[in-house]
Amino acid sequence: MMEPLLEFRDVKMYFRARKGLLRTTLVKAVDGVSLAIYRGEMLALVGESGSGKTTLGRLALGLLRPTSGTILFDGKDISRMGRGEHSSFRRRCQAIFQDPYSSLNPFMTVGEIVEEPLIIHGLGDRRRRVLQALEDVGLKPPEEFSRKHVFNLSGGQRQRVAIARALALQPDFIVADEPVSMIDASSRAEVLLLLHRLRREHGITLLYITHDIATARHFSDRIAVMYLGRVVELGPTESVIERPMHPYTLSLIAAVPEPRPDNLQRDLYAIPGEPPSAESIPPGCRFHPRCPFYINALCNAVDPPLARLDGHRQAACLLHEGGEGTHPKTNNPPTTHHPPVRRLIGGRVLELVQGDITELEVDAIVNAANSSLKMGGGVAGAILRKGGWKIQEECDRIGHCPVGGAVITSAGRLKAKYVIHAVGPRLGEGDEDEKLRSATISSLRLADEHGVRSIAFPAISTGAFGFPKDRCARIMTSAVAEYLRGSTGLERVVFCLYDRETFEVFAREVGRL
């Protein structure tokens, strides 16, 4: 399966949406996807609503013409095919849609539904092909089923009719867009097992589009995870599920409610916030506003490319240093660097700088971890990267750390020696101010215990969850000042703020100390 049957090369699909009378906005449904689907494989395209997975499926079928980029089918650009080529492409690529209650014509018999595409493509021997297709999808006896109308059939049976309709044309490639989300849980496995079997017996390549990562685990060879128009993780299914490398994949997995007897005692992880809109894509990494590993001044500044991490695995995440082309470089550095602000407090330096926290020469940097990371031991899976961070361990440890506490880990390849994960509060948890204060103090105390002389903080609680900047600045600066006035081995505490606005808010607070 080394040869691609279908290949997306930097494909973008933008739609213009009307907003009001005159204004239009650009919806970037697919925003730069490069992806190959190999002959004979079943690739699962996983994502939430609005991720662009359906648009990508429609592009694969040639139903949409991309805004830019090329889509190759069997080596040929599908938007430049001649008439004959295009007609053959249409036969070779088939679709199965989500809702078998609306995608099958209620006035036609099952036999007519399956026969229709054969008429359109001018294929002979139709009767035999129809019966064969019905038999292949397990609608037996086929003669009897071909005379039925779809309203006599269950959801699972209807979806099998839709599969037979696709199969009758002997396609090479099938796009199945959420083929089981509308049918009963007890028959989902039946339909998916059927697709799996047909792929093997007929050598069909399958693109399985789904929001359900649990079914993808059992019915695909590779998984591509989409978020806001991009593929953020790609790899062999087994390995992606067991060792997700992108925090979004990790979060999706953690949010799957597995039936277990002791679930009442467990916490179900919920990705915070709403799935965002493709009309307003966040700057930097597009997942950063919901990411439990979000690092201020890095993730909101750098847009990570999908990079090869090892062998078959690819992820678009800045936590993974190394890999080709992944060294995080600030691609839109702050244009108006504010000069640093320094103050002496209790004989120690409190400093404000604007820039990238990972570039600072300090012993320890603080990562603004969040209570949303509390996914409990074991559930989280692992993001592990040679030379990078041992996210699995962090995740477990942070998961057991109360909000307002902090955890220390080695800094891997970063310039600093340690990373201290301050578990800050989320807005709406109650007692946020006290928890933010205590997370700040806990970080400083941990630093002291490890002989750290200099430490850099981002704003712990502003970016990700809408904690107001001024509140955050007030609480953190006063907590640090209070700590520096006591007995400590710390010589230098840096607040590292990426954008000028946050910098100025902090500068105002430091001025008041």
């Binding site: 007890s186 496995a189 409610p257 277990r260 007897p261 009442l264």
Partner: protein, 297 residues
């Protein structure tokens, strides 16, 4: 729905799980006395907080029980918000309509409930089309809670939502259960989701509760073959085994099969199964199953 016996304590959540068409929704509607007019026979007793509410005249039930003591989040209720009214008003409406509450007080209370379900204050004055699916579902939950009922029936409250939002809603319901001592009946086809919220689980098949017990016991040692099959059909991330499916389809409830209703699809059928309908047999403490396999135990 046929011969259903259930009980639920204050602050307890009961899951009703099963395939579509098994009567889960009818159970909820029956408790709310909202069954369609063609309901041929409704018999039995429904006792709420010591009062036999099934005996109340329908007008009194409407005035004193429905929405005040028992409320419901209907399947797809997030799609049935009135598009031309501000959502806050829709949440406050039950207070204004029958509660005899002053408009300013109604607004204050509706805002309180909306805050409780995690909606920011500005949502009060928004219209439904301005909200995301998850927010609309929270509005539907707020509407059910505004009269401070004892019991809320939730019919597939997460079925149209993304996994991330689904998890948020379940976390919210868990919090309401613990903090407010709210009793809940959670109707779903998703056993996994139910197991994060519910203390008890009732498995429905063809209008009957075929197994009922503490969620922990039902999941750890499912006694009814249908429960076993249903659990086996859920795809699991943590298991390398692919899910299985249940062959055949649920029976036609106009002519249910004789004997045990599951016997045509059951792998363990023996002769008694097609002859007599099994009684609910004890399996463990508070755990019963309607299956002849447990007759000798």
């Amino acid at each position: 729905m046929d011969g259903v016996t259930l009980s639920l304590d204050r602050g307890e959540a009961l899951a009703i799980v099963g395939e579509s068409g098994c009567g889960k929704t009818s159970l909820g509607l029956g408790l709310m006395r909202l069954l369609p007019r063609n309901t041929a026979l409704f018999s039995g007793r429904i006792v709420l907080d010591g009062v036999e509410v099934s005996k109340l005249p329908s007008e009194e039930f409407r005035r004193t029980v429905r929405w005040r003591k028992i409320s419901m989040v209907f399947q797809g209720s997030m799609h049935s918000l009135n598009p031309v009214l501000r959502v806050g008003y829709q949440v406050a409406e039950p207070l204004l309509a029958g509660g005899g509450v002053e408009p300013s007080e109604a607004r204050r209370r509706a805002m309180g409930v909306m805050r409780m379900v995690g909606l920011p204050q500005e949502v009060y004055d928004r219209y439904p089309h301005e909200l995301s699916g998850g927010m609309k579902q929270r509005v539907a939950i707020a509407m059910a809670l505004v009269l401070d009922p004892l019991l809320v029936i939730l019919d597939e409250p997460t079925s149209a939502l993304d996994v991330s939002i689904q998890a948020q809603i379940v976390r919210l319901l868990r919090r309401l259960k613990v903090e407010r001592g709210l009793s809940m009946i959670f109707i779903t086809h998703d056993i996994g989701l139910a197991s994060y919220l519910c203390d008890k689980m009732g498995v429905m098949y063809a209008g009957e509760i075929v197994e009922l017990g503490p969620t922990r016991d039902v999941l750890a040692s499912p006694a009814h073959p249908y429960t076993q099959k249903l659990l086996g059909s859920a795809p699991r991330l943590g298991s390398p085994l692919p899910p299985e499916f249940i062959p055949g389809s649920p029976p036609d409830l106009v002519h249910p099969p004789p004997g045990c209703r599951f016997h045509p699809r059951c792998p363990y059928t023996f002769e008694a199964c097609s002859r007599t309908s099994p009684a609910a047999l004890p399996i463990g403490p508070g755990h019963r199953a309607r299956c002849h396999l447990h007759a000798g135990a």
